[in-house]
């Protein structure tokens, strides 16, 4: 009996040892890092960056791209509790960044930021998005300004110009509708929040900020009015069917909708479809709904690239992040994707996006944090579902706002 128990314990110990690793953090020198990300479609561009970094700093990088962001986040969160740590990983700013920084494993990048700002490689404006408790964490993997991409041929065909005011935008949509063209793209899945944030930011950006921090309610009159305005636009027939699963890049290329609102990263979709900026498509800043606002509100997002203090080679991770911010790296990263860069020294060929980046850096716009980053995950989840329901059944807007508020009440009751 004793022997059999010893045998059982022995096997159990071996299995557990195999599952748990050695339990100690053994630092090792790495010549190639793995970059985990939820941007599976960008693998080609990450690969190009890996080849360049190998050549320039002797440190290669291989991407592991997820396409399901929920699955990706669960994997990264799990890594905080195990010895399997990613060398580098992409994440989100806002509450999501605060959440992981609290675990005291995300590498502090304050020194990298200070050096990069001094060298002109990063802008001071970005600091708040990466600051938790007075220190900086991660570096910008990308930045994006949100506006309207439009099919230039359709605009030219109907004698339309980029609108200067909200009324101009609605008049443009009306002209297109009369010509049998759907003006706007929207969807019931994932990006269902886009028009909500745009209308909120262009109507009352302060209310939008208060909503993000639980200081206002989704059932407040200002939010209800925004939903009613959104409903009017849908009822007027300006949008394509929200259940249309055509890729938005194809929607714009084929003219299924004349305008698609997304971040500047949508330029990559145009590039991969061989569309030429200024000839096939172009970009304009969406005017405020409320003309009395002092600055045009512009949705802004920045995705962090992070490393962990307990990764296999934390020094190599920090070295890579430092290189990532340089104009040499950012020039390649921005040019290959046709997108803007977090590095102010980097200029891109696309004239419209170049102007927007320059103007945004010069303080022309009121930058508003994208809804995806600004909203806590449980509220965001309820909101994405709610807006998905709303675009399909616009008459349900009050029911939708109440359901989001219910999730918000629950979240803020334990997170103030």
């Amino acid at each position: 009996m004793y022997r059999s128990r010893v045998a059982t314990l022995g096997v159990a110990a071996l299995v557990l040892a195999a599952c748990g690793g050695n339990g100690a953090e053994v630092s090792q020198k790495k010549t190639e890092l793995t970059l985990y990300n939820d941007k599976g479609a960008w693998t080609k561009y990450f690969d190009e960056m890996g080849a360049l970094s190998k050549q320039r700093i002797g440190l290669g990088m291989k991407p592991t791209g997820y396409t399901d962001s929920a699955q990706y986040q669960a994997f990264i969160k799990a890594s905080f509790r195990t010895n399997v740590k990613p060398d580098l990983f992409t994440w989100q700013t806002g509450g999501m960044l605060e959440e992981i920084v609290k675990q005291k494993q995300v590498a502090d990048t304050t020194a990298v930021w200070q050096e990069a700002i001094k060298a002109g490689d990063l802008s001071q404006d970005l600091v708040p998005y990466y600051t938790v408790g007075g220190r900086q964490y991660c570096v910008p993997m990308n930045v994006a300004y949100w506006g309207m991409f439009y099919n230039k041929k359709i605009f030219d065909e109907h004698g339309l110009k980029p609108p200067q005011t909200w009324d101009d935008l609605v008049a443009t949509a009306e002209t297109l509708k009369r010509a049998g063209v759907k003006a706007f793209y929207h969807t019931s899945v994932l990006f269902s929040f886009v028009w909500f944030e745009q209308l909120m930011a262009g109507t009352d950006p302060d209310l939008y900020d208060r909503l993000s921090t639980g200081k206002a309610k989704y059932t407040d009159p200002g939010v209800v009015q925004v939903m009613e305005r959104w409903k009017q636009l849908i009822d007027a027939g300006y949008f394509i069917n929200p259940g249309d699963k055509t890729d938005p890049g194809d929607v714009l290329k084929t003219g299924k909708a004349a305008m698609v609102t997304f971040g500047t990263w949508f330029n990559t979709s145009m590039t991969t479809r061989s569309m030429k900026a200024g000839a096939d498509y172009d970009f304009f800043v969406i005017p405020n709904v409320n003309p009395a606002l002092p600055k045009t509100s512009m949705i802004f997002e920045s995705g962090p690239l992070c490393s962990l203090t307990k990764a296999a080679d934390p020094e190599a991770g920090m070295k890579y992040l430092k290189w990532w911010t340089t104009s040499e790296a950012q020039d390649k990263w921005a040019t290959s994707r046709g997108d803007v860069s977090a590095n102010p020294k980097v200029t891109i060929d696309d004239k419209a996006l170049g102007t927007v980046t320059k103007d945004a850096g010069g303080g022309k716009y009121r930058l508003v944090n994208r809804y995806f980053e600004a909203t806590p995950p449980p509220v965001l989840s309820a909101a994405l579902d709610g807006f998905g329901k709303f675009v399909t059944e616009p008459g349900t807007y009050m029911e939708v706002l109440e359901s989001i508020q219910k999730a918000a009440d629950e979240y803020w009751s334990t997170h103030q």
């Binding site: 022997r3 059999s4 128990r5 045998a7 059982t8 096997v11 159990a12 299995v15 557990l16 599952c19 929920a70 699955q71 986040q73 669960a74 969160k77 799990a78 905080f80 959440e99 992981i100 609290k102 675990q103 019931s188 899945v189 994932l190 269902s192 069917n241 929200p242 259940g243 249309d244 699963k245 055509t246 299924k256 995950p377 449980p378 965001l380 989840s381 309820a382 579902d385 709610g386 998905g388 329901k389 709303f390 675009v391 399909t392 059944e393 349900t396 939708v400 359901s403 334990t414």
Partner: protein, 282 residues
């Protein structure tokens, strides 16, 4: 009866590797999930004990009511369509000359995985999709409830019909010929022969087919996740999709675990009650 001495001495050691694997991979996650269902947990901070609060919330959650309704539609629909039609195709084609060739087309879609199946049907059922083009209509197959669940059930039937047909054919082949011949000599044929002789003899296999279909319909996930992600507005969610969304999308691991426990209890109870009835009947 005494055990052979060799097993008595080393038996536990032989069983240990498998027992440890089962304990680590099956029992431990189950116990951990059950524990998490009694906590508030975001996947990062340590779980905070909240007692039965997550289970109380289950009864006040409209989304859960919708996903329970949809799951019941999946269960009822699976019994009526892939299983019911599978039986019909098996019985009608069984005695036909070259019947196997009639069954082959039903078998082919079974080669697809659940996610692959949904990917194939997505462009068919979406707005401006192939179905609307072919039918010359403008129907939102995947938008309105419960029509979207029924549309996905039709896709599920397209895939599952073949394997159920095959299983029923195996059941028909395993029936001894004597009772059938005797019934025929007594003048039984057609529906009466099936109802009173063939069907009762197929009962053991039917119990397996229905039992498997019951469990697979209760845990429907992949096809819904790929085609609609449970939307729009959660109106096509099943319990399994709700479990996933609450846990991994909303990062509410405690509540997601409570849904998982509920789903486990419902599946276990339904399987137990059904199989007990079948075993008693046979």
């Amino acid at each position: 009866m005494s055990r052979p001495p060799i097993l008595g001495r080393f038996g536990h050691g032989y069983v240990a590797p498998a027992a440890v694997l089962v304990a680590v991979l099956l029992y431990a996650p189950f116990v951990w999930t059950a524990y998490l269902s009694l906590t508030r947990y975001d996947g990062l901070e340590s779980p905070v004990w909240v007692g039965l609060a997550n289970f109380v919330k289950l009864f006040d959650d409209d989304a859960l009511l919708t996903s329970t309704r949809n799951t019941l539609i999946w269960v009822a629909g699976t019994m009526a369509l892939p299983v019911g039609l599978g039986l019909l195709v098996a019985v009608l084609s069984y005695d036909l000359k070259g019947g196997a060739w009639y069954r082959v087309p039903f078998m082919l879609p079974y080669a697809l995985s659940g996610a692959g199946l949904a990917m194939v049907w997505s462009p068919v059922l979406s707005h401006d999709g192939i179905a609307n083009l072919l039918l010359g209509v403008d129907t939102a197959f995947l938008q309105e409830a419960p029509a979207n669940t029924l549309a996905m059930l039709a896709v599920w039937t397209w895939q599952q019909l073949g394997v159920n047909t095959l299983l029923f054919v195996v059941g028909l082949q395993s029936i001894p010929r004597e009772p059938i011949e005797a019934a025929r000599l007594d003048g039984a044929s057609g529906w009466r022969l099936f109802r009173h002789v063939t069907w009762p003899l197929m009962r053991p296999l039917t119990a397996v087919v229905v039992g498997l279909a019951l469990v697979s319909s209760l845990k429907t996930f992949d096809i819904v996740w790929v085609l609609t992600q449970g939307g729009p507005g959660r109106n096509s969610e099943t319990l399994a999709v709700t479990m996933y969304k609450e846990t991994f999308v909303a990062s509410d691991y405690g509540y997601g675990s409570a849904v998982a426990v509920l789903l486990t209890v419902v599946t276990g109870l339904a399987s137990y009650l059904y199989l007990r009835r079948q075993v008693t009947a046979t």
